[in-house]
Symmetry: C2
Subunit: 114 residues, 2 copies
Amino acid sequence: MNQKDQVCQQKLMVSRDALEVIQGKWRLPIVLALTFGDKRFGEIQRDIVDISPKMLSQELKALEENKIITRTLYDSMPVTVEYSLTPLGRSMKKMLDELLNWGYHFRKEILGKQ
Amino acid sequence: MNQKDQVCQQKLMVSRDALEVIQGKWRLPIVLALTFGDKRFGEIQRDIVDISPKMLSQELKALEENKIITRTLYDSMPVTVEYSLTPLGRSMKKMLDELLNWGYHFRKEILGKQ
DNA sequence: TATAGTAGTTACCCATAGGTAAGTAGTTAC
DNA sequence: GTAACTACTTACCTATGGGTAACTACTATA
């Protein structure tokens, strides 16, 4: 295996690890919503209008397990819970920005939106 | 709805469009492999060692439909087919780079690899 | 007492993403 | 004539991602 192939293999491995974390319909949207500031369960649900509480709860848990978000419970009445990005979560910003950049481009070029 | 919320909604829409194209286990790895140069069916299969011919064929078709790759048939003996990135496909490079950057970071921080 | 708001959970179902294994078709080389 | 190379296709199965609807638990307020 030559060096080019080795670099290719290495990148494929890394992309695999990364994809495992951000796979699915909802994780990136949730992280994206939290880049606009810490939010409560209900707020995220109002942002991402068609996510069900089941999926939101499930995906928040997965993101917390991967150290991308933090869950903070407040003993207010009624109880509120706030989700915020960890440093690792905030480190996704550039990636998200480039995803959005490409997304705008794709919408314009292929979908003809805007 | 204030301006911040509008920007958030807009970005969520765009991320959704983008995600629909790159969703799944194999599409980004395929695009990544092709950033190293045009490749034949069998070459991609050898790069991405655990992809089945069925999935590779199916995902190549999807990527072609979304104008991200091109399929070129050569009348050699035996017939060979080459896949290459379109300009739209090449425009994913920055996004892929940032995904990999984040992936390296994540591997180091959380998975403790390398 | 009932309604509404907080943040979920639970049970059930279905579509589809993806895996496995075998088959197709044409040509070349042994 | 059979194996091996090219590039797939087809049939079948299963795991899981995701949807829907209803329910839980606690408190405040009307």
